[in-house]
Amino acid sequence: METKQTYNDKIVKAFLLATIGWAFVALLLGVIIAYQMAYWQANFDLEWLTFGRLRPLHTNAAIFAFAGNIVFAGIYHSTQRLLKARLFSDVLSKVHFWGWQLMILLAAVTLPLGFSTGKEYAELEWPLDILIAVVWVVFAINFFGTIAIRRVKHLYVAIWFYIATVLTVAILHIVNSIALPVSLLKSYPVYAGIQDALVQWWYGHNAVAFFLTTPFLGLMYYYLPKSVGRPIYSYRLSIIHFWALVFIYIWAGPHHLLYTALPNWLQTLGMVFSLMLWAPSWGGMINGLLTLRGAWDKLRTSPIVKFYVAALTFYGMTTFEGPLLSIKSVSALGHYTDWIVAHVHAGTLGWNGFMAFGVIYYLVPKIWKTKLYSDKLATLHFWTGIFGILIYYISMWAAGITQGLMWRAVDGNGQLVYPDFVETVTKIVPLYQVRAFAGLIYLIGFLFLVYNIYKTIKSAPSDQPEEVFSAPVIKNKKGIEFIPKSHRHFEGLATSFTILVLISVLVGSIIEIMPVLSLDSYVSEGKKVKTFTPLELAGRDIYIKEGCYVCHSQMIRKLATDVQRFGPASTIEESMYNRPFQWGSKRTGPDLARIGKKYPDAWHYKHMINPRSVVQQSLMPNYPWLADKKTDLYILRKKLSVMKNLGVPYTKEEVANADILAEKQARQIAERLIISGGVNASVEDLTRKEIVALIAYLQALGQKAINPEGEL
């Protein structure tokens, strides 16, 4: 029997409002740190405003707060309608909403304070990781519960993409976050060196795939045909590109690690699978754009359609550029430069941002039962946004390629033309200024949305009854139109469908990750390195806390000009005890893999207090607080014992005496700084300072070979 039910749209409203709020935060943070790249003074020497701490907050806010909330809003709204069923549980919906906002709020507090795992796009510490996992499971129960009570036999393509999202993000997050806690807000990952590199980029790349791509394709498949009133162009294309995407995407992670110490076979897999991703990605764009056939006039009249079309175009651009950048020789030029920054922002600002804005402009009036306050203002937002993205993209593209070419320029003597790293940075600072301005433009465009939506909601009737719908009856649960071996039949079997998605994403994951889990098979006995001393480990944790990895790599690639500039190529063994690995993904400053012993301690001291005292044109912020704050030496025993449990070969004596050993080493450095470095402080005082531990760590980088005469 048909029954009358209502949709839970309250939760959709909540997620929509959260989207708008967090989008503002994410964009504002982006503009702030963009200005810090252009003008290093822009952190006002406040530690919690430095680039190293705010950049993780910016990325987390953009991905998990802005994109996350719009995805939840869209999924909850469209799923109910596509399945003709109210959400499985109102309580779970609420828990999901508040749990997620709580997580973001805690992230916004802990990241600026320096509580970071140092893992890109997964910087949150372990209690927050657990919170994310719990909230995600709540979401999954709510989502799959709704599928279970659906009143429509077949699952629409949007739902397929949602299924892939819910499943895969859970797997990615849990596998990538496994760690042993040291304290409430500090942990060490179970993966080390190349393992960690591989797992993190398997996670990082697929966060892009399954958090920023598949759910947005799902949204596109619902909201685009809804907005233009046209049928989807090709059902067949949606089947092929869905399965191809889900199966192939998961393999592509290693393309972030080309020319590094990662084993060659993984780099090759990463590259060839990235190339294979090109067509499946474009399948989504083609299906979206061709759905507009017969409705192209709406592109002129409707700002919403403008946003969708531009979003799909940016999606097409980035998914072409992605495979391109995954070709080894292209990566050799683009990796570590702003080209990558250009690439990801075309994706986030163009594809994710514009899809989100389109959905917001469509959904808010619909769900608040009113009309959009101003179409003109929305159109103005569109053009402002486009303008912002284009300047952003072009400036960073130019910056990246310019710097990449400068890094590799060699003269007739076989010497680097720009041996001074800072020269290659100074050259592109004007482009950083342009980029910051572009970000500001995009933010201003977004403010038009805020005002428009505010006026729209204000104009809504105060009476907001839930939308009533009639839930049809599925006559035969076992399949009304049984066509053996057809995909159509399969679309009616939600459980089997889900299991096949699961298998698709597990195949690539297992084949790539399993072999590397036995790190020993990749480590040659003769090239093994020494463990970090307790003080160096303390220094390493300060390096992580300050987010040094967002601007400095620790990976000299197998490229002649990398070797000329920074020293012999990094080896697998050199990062075998690195938890987490700190190879980095961007060189705003030089590589640090072999910085150890390159400069005297006093150079580092001066450089930390004021980088410009030794490198006149440096962009690096001042870190004066490192000379004020004390290193917690006592916790080192705990840290070493956790490391020992993870398999790092510390002796019992080292663990038991960690703090004493650290103090001893620190005292030697402090004495050197005072006697020959002209630092004005007492030995007692200086010994305990963070700066001393950090110097110990930096001086150890590339200096850990057991047998320095060997190949290292």
């Binding site: 469209s78 003709k84 077949h154 629409y156 949007a158 619902y222 045909p225 809804k226 049928p231 989807i232 162009y233 090709s234 059902y235 067949r236 294309l237 949606s238 092929i240 191809a244 020319y259 060659n264 076979w265 780099q267 090759t268 590259m271 060839v272 190339l275 294979m276 090109w278 067509a279 474009w282 399948g283 083609i286 061709l290 080894k328 060699v410 003269d411 003597n413 076989g414 010497q415 041996p419 001074d420 197998k558 490229l559 002649a560 070797v563 000329q564 190529a569 012993k597 390159k598 400069y599 005297p600 006093a602 150079w603 001066k606 005292s613 030794v614 490198v615 006149q616 020959s676 470095g677």
Partner: protein
Amino acid sequence: MSDDKKNDEVLLLDHDYDGIKEYDNPLPRWWLFTFYITIVFAPIYVYYYHFGPGLSLSEELDQNLVKIEAQENLTQEQTKKLSEADLLALINDKQVINEGRALYNKNCLACHGAFGEGLIGPNLTDNYWVHGDGSLKSVLLVISTGVIDKGMPEWGKILSPKDLQNTTVFVRSLLGTNPKNAKTHEGTLIE
């Protein structure tokens, strides 16, 4: 968009999801072709680089490094050929000193001070020498090969022979200037 528009209505499936319908248009041929090419490319690439004649990344690097090292050696030979007399002939050349000053300010100032008074590195204005014998040639060699243990970089890998020469000449011009805040003497006195 080569697709035949007339066929649309035939291709409309009876799917209906909250009012959304679907066509069953065929896959665009150029799209499918692109997909096939990338799929076919994969095993060929894997074969060539992992089982065939293709060089691994390390082999490629080694080959390139050999070439670069050969060039670097040539450059170093050039530097070594400069004699004490060659350098002495330049010590009054204003142009050389000015170029040397610019190089000094860029590369040396951070550790040896704005006036060669010594800071992290030793004083360059006195007659005490930690490395070398005080001759121009020995200064040139210290700059060129560096003193890695003490944090003096190997500038020969970074600067051209001419730049090394100009820096050396400028450093000599600092001798006996008695700057303020000069660092205490280090090394042996050589008159």
